[in-house]
C-alpha cells in the first residue's frame, strides 16, 4: 500500500526520511522518567535500550480503580458506576422479563420505531415489541442513514460490560455495525450477567482472544450517554450520540 498515496507526494521518500530521523534521534538514550519509587526498575538490554522486566500496564493493575474481587462486588460496582453516569441499569431474571421491560420502555417513552441487528439476544427481547422495527444488517441491502437517524432507539447486544468504569464494549462485527449504537436517540443494550468483567484490562484481553487475528474494524467502549461540557463546563447529555442509555442485564 505504501507509495499508493496521492499524486505527486513521494510517500516512500517521506517514510525513509522520517524513519531515518527517528533512528538518528534515538542514538542517544533518554533517562528513565522520575518515578515515585517502586521496585519494577527496568534494566537496559544489551543495546542499552529500555527492557522492562514487568509491563507497566500489568504492574498498574492493583493501582487503578477497583473492578471487584467477586462477581457480586463487580455487579455492585457496575450498577453504581452506571447510575453515576446517568445511565439506567436493570437486572431481569430471564429473556421474557427483558422483553417485558423493553415493551414497557417503548410505551413509556412513546417510541415509534426502534432499530436492531440480528443476534439471538436482541431477537428474543424484540419479539412482541409494541412499535415498528428497523433492521440495519439485512443481507444484501444496506440500511438507509436517514431512516436510522429517525429511529427513536437502537437495540444492540454487547461484547462485554466493565465494572471498573461502567463501560459497555461494542464491536462493529457483532453488535450491528458502527452507527446503530450511536445514531439513534437512545441506546438499549441487552447483556447477560456472564458478560460482566471486572476491569478494562480483562475487556481488552477478552476482545483480542475472541477475535484472534481478525479484529473488528471498530471496538468502542461506551461509558454513559453522550455528553458535553463545552458550554461553561456545564454537563449536558446527548451532545451528538444517544441522550439515553439503558442496560438490560439478564440472569
Amino acid at each position: 500500500m505504501t507509495g499508493a498515496a496521492s499524486g505527486k507526494h513521494d510517500n516512500a521518500a517521506a517514510r525513509a526520511t522520517i524513519l531515518a530521523r527517528v533512528r538518528e534521534a534515538l542514538r542517544i538514550p533518554a533517562p528513565m522518567p522520575h518515578l515515585a519509587g517502586h521496585e519494577s526498575e527496568p534494566a537496559a538490554d544489551g543495546a542499552g535500550r529500555p527492557a522492562l522486566t514487568i509491563l507497566p500496564s500489568e504492574a498498574a493493575r492493583p493501582w487503578l480503580p477497583d473492578g471487584g474481587n467477586t462477581p457480586e462486588a463487580s455487579l455492585a460496582l457496575l450498577e453504581e458506576n452506571l447510575q453515576k453516569l446517568r445511565a439506567t441499569c436493570v437486572r431481569v431474571g430471564d429473556l421474557a422479563a427483558a422483553a417485558d421491560y423493553l415493551a414497557g420502555l417503548v410505551r413509556e417513552k412513546d417510541w415509534q420505531r426502534v432499530a436492531w441487528h440480528a443476534h439471538p439476544l436482541v431477537e428474543a427481547v424484540l419479539a412482541g415489541v409494541p412499535c415498528a422495527t428497523y433492521r440495519v444488517d439485512a443481507p444484501e441491502t444496506p440500511f438507509d442513514k436517514n431512516a436510522l437517524e429517525a429511529c427513536d432507539a437502537g437495540i444492540t447486544c454487547c461484547e462485554c460490560l466493565v465494572a471498573q468504569t461502567g463501560s459497555i464494549l461494542v464491536a462493529s462485527s457483532t453488535c450491528g455495525g458502527r452507527a446503530l449504537s450511536i445514531l439513534p436517540h437512545a441506546h438499549v443494550v441487552i447483556a447477560t450477567i456472564d458478560q460482566l468483567l471486572p476491569t478494562l484490562a480483562e475487556a481488552l484481553d477478552g476482545a483480542r482472544q475472541r477475535h484472534g487475528g481478525r479484529l473488528p474494524s471498530m471496538l468502542s467502549f461506551i461509558t454513559g450517554p453522550s455528553r458535553t461540557g463545552d458550554i461553561e463546563r456545564i454537563l449536558v447529555l446527548g451532545a451528538h450520540g444517544p441522550k439515553e442509555l439503558f442496560v438490560i442485564l439478564v440472569g
Binding site: P56, T228, R233
Partner: protein
C-alpha cells in the same frame, strides 16, 4: 449543502494572530497585558475550571494508588517513545494488514497536500471533522476551504469556535472562555435560532444542525489519541459521539496523527484511557473510547470504504533528538497542566499564539517552531511546578522550561544580560566590594523608589519593593550566631 465557514478559520490563526506584531514575543506581551486587564473574562474562566478541580479529585480518589499509576503511564509512554524506530514500522505494518493506508508527512505542507489529494481523488465535496489538534497545527481547514470544500467542525466547542472564526482557546476545552449569551447570539446570527440562556438548549441546536451534515458528508476527518503497535488499531477518545458518527457515516475516513502517539501494547490503554479521562476532564472514562482497525470489513453492515492515516513528523523528530526533553513527547494532550497553570489562567489561551497552549505548549513550541522566536514562552512561567505535579505521564514540564531558557541563553545570549552577569561575578568574587555595593543599595533604595528610574520603573509599575533592611545579611547572621 454544508455551510461554509462563516468568518473563515484564517481570521485568527495562531500564526496570523490579528494585528501582526513585530515578533511573537511582542505579540505575547501585548495580548497578555490586554487579557490580564479583562478581569471579567478571567473570573469567568476560573469559575468554569472550579468544577473541574472537584470532579478530578473525586475521580483520582477512586484510584487505589494514583501516584504509582502515574509511574506506570509514564513508563508505558517512555518505553514506546524510546523504541519508536521499531514500533512505528510495526504499527504501520499491522495497520496496513487491517486494510488501512498510511501516508507519511515530513511537515504540515506535505500533510495538507496528501489530504487535498485524497479529497480530490474521492470526488469529495463535503467534509465533516471531529476535534483534531494536529489539523489545527497544519492549518488544514483554511487549505481545504481554499480548495472549495465545505468543512464543518462537529465537536460542539470546535463548532462554536469555527463560527466565531477563532482557533481553540484551550486544546481540550476549545470555547471555555465563551459565555452562554455569546453562544446564543452566535447561533442566532449564523443558524437563525431563537435566543436562550440554557446550555442544554444551545447544545440541542448544534445537535440538530450537525446531524444532517454527518449523513451528507463524503469524508470524515479525525485525529488519533493512540496508535497501538501490536494490533495496528488507532484509538480515538471523545465525549460527544461526534467522532463515532464522523467515522461511521461518510464513505472515507482520514485520520491525522503525530508519530509520537504510538504505544506498544493494547493493554497499555487499560492504564492510559482512564488516566487521560481523569486528568483531563475529571471523568472515570471519557464517554467514547474507540479502536479502529481499517475500513468496513466484509460482513459488517456499515463503515467507510477507505481508511487513511497521515503520520506527521513536523519537527517531532527534532524534539525526539533531545534526550533531555524527549519525555515531552509522552504528552497525551489531557490538558491538565493548563487547568492548574497560574499563567494560563491569567493570560488566557490565545495569548500563547500557539496550537498547544499552556505549560506543555511552552515546552514543545520552541522545538516545533524555533527557539529564537518562541523562547519567551519559557520565561512566561513562575516555575511553581503545578504542571509537573498533575501530569499523568510525569513529564518534567517546569524543568524543561528552565532547559529552554538555558538553551536560548547559550545559543543567542543577550549582550546586556551577559555584561550584567560578568559585573555580578566581578563583585561577588570580592567580599569588600560586595559589602560596599550592599551598603550603597540599602542607602539609596528609598531614593530609587521615589525617582523610579528605568529599568526599575517597569518593576514598580505594578509592584512595590519592601523597605531596605537596616543591616546586611552577613551582619545579621553574625549577630545571630552570638
Amino acid at each position: 449543502m454544508i455551510a461554509p465557514t462563516p468568518g473563515g478559520s484564517t481570521a485568527h490563526t495562531p500564526e496570523g494572530h490579528a494585528p501582526a506584531a513585530a515578533s511573537a514575543k511582542k505579540q505575547f506581551l501585548h495580548d497578555a497585558a490586554e487579557h490580564v486587564r479583562d478581569t471579567g473574562r478571567r473570573a469567568f474562566v476560573r469559575k468554569a475550571l472550579s468544577g473541574y478541580y472537584v470532579s478530578r479529585d473525586t475521580q483520582k480518589a477512586r484510584y487505589r494508588d494514583w501516584e504509582h499509576a502515574r509511574d506506570a503511564a509514564s513508563l508505558a509512554k517512555w518505553s514506546a517513545v524510546n523504541q519508536l524506530d521499531t514500533l512505528l514500522p510495526k504499527f504501520v505494518a499491522n495497520f496496513e494488514a487491517n486494510g488501512g493506508q498510511v501516508h507519511w508527512a515530513r511537515n504540515g505542507e506535505e500533510a495538507r497536500e496528501i489530504i487535498l489529494g485524497l479529497l480530490k481523488n474521492a470526488n469529495a465535496r463535503a467534509v465533516i471533522k471531529s476535534k483534531c489538534m494536529t489539523s489545527e497545527e497544519i492549518h488544514l481547514n483554511a487549505a481545504m476551504e481554499a480548495d472549495g470544500y465545505g468543512v464543518v467542525e462537529s465537536d460542539l466547542g470546535e463548532f462554536i469556535q469555527q463560527l466565531r472564526g477563532e482557533p481553540p482557546y484551550h486544546f481540550v476545552f476549545p470555547c471555555m472562555h465563551v459565555r452562554r449569551d455569546e453562544i446564543s447570539d452566535l447561533f442566532g446570527k449564523h443558524l437563525g435560532t431563537a435566543p436562550t440562556d440554557s446550555p442544554e438548549e444551545l447544545t440541542m441546536i448544534a445537535r440538530k444542525h450537525l446531524r444532517r451534515l454527518y449523513v451528507e458528508a463524503d469524508v470524515g476527518i479525525t485525529g488519533a489519541n493512540f496508535l497501538v503497535a501490536e494490533t495496528g488499531q488507532i484509538s480515538i477518545t471523545e465525549n460527544e459521539g461526534n467522532a463515532r458518527l464522523t467515522v461511521a457515516l461518510p464513505r472515507m475516513h482520514i485520520a491525522i496523527s503525530g508519530i509520537e502517539k504510538v504505544v506498544e501494547h493494547l493493554d497499555d490503554l487499560a492504564v492510559l484511557l482512564p488516566m487521560l479521562a481523569t486528568a483531563g476532564a475529571g471523568q472515570p472514562m471519557t464517554c467514547y473510547n474507540t479502536l479502529y482497525a481499517g475500513p468496513r470489513r466484509e460482513g459488517e453492515c456499515d463503515g467507510p470504504e477507505e481508511m487513511h492515516l497521515v503520520l506527521l513528523d513536523n519537527a517531532r523528530t527534532a524534539l525526539l533528538a533531545d534526550p533531555e526533553q524527549r519525555d515531552a513527547l509522552h504528552c497525551i494532550r489531557c490538558g491538565a497542566c493548563l487547568n492548574v497553570c497560574p499563567i494560563f489562567k491569567n493570560v488566557g489561551g490565545f495569548t500563547y499564539g500557539t496550537t498547544y497552549q499552556g505549560p506543555i505548549g511552552s515546552v514543545i513550541t520552541p522545538h516545533l517552531r524555533g527557539l529564537a522566536d518562541w523562547n519567551h514562552l519559557s520565561a512566561a512561567s513562575s516555575l511553581c511546578g503545578a504542571c509537573t505535579d498533575v501530569c499523568p505521564v510525569r513529564i518534567d514540564i517546569h524543568h524543561h522550561l528552565l532547559h529552554n531558557r538555558r538553551n536560548a541563553a547559550s545559543t543567542s545570549p543577550s549582550w546586556l544580560e551577559k555584561q550584567g552577569q560578568r559585573f555580578f561575578a566581578f563583585v561577588a568574587r570580592r567580599p569588600w566590594l560586595f559589602a560596599l555595593c550592599g551598603w550603597l543599595g540599602r542607602k539609596t533604595l528609598p531614593l530609587a523608589k521615589a525617582l523610579r528610574p528605568p529599568p526599575l520603573s517597569a518593576w514598580l509599575a505594578t509592584r512595590d519593593l519592601p523597605p531596605a533592611p537596616e543591616k546586611s545579611f552577613r551582619a545579621a547572621w553574625k549577630a545571630r550566631q552570638r
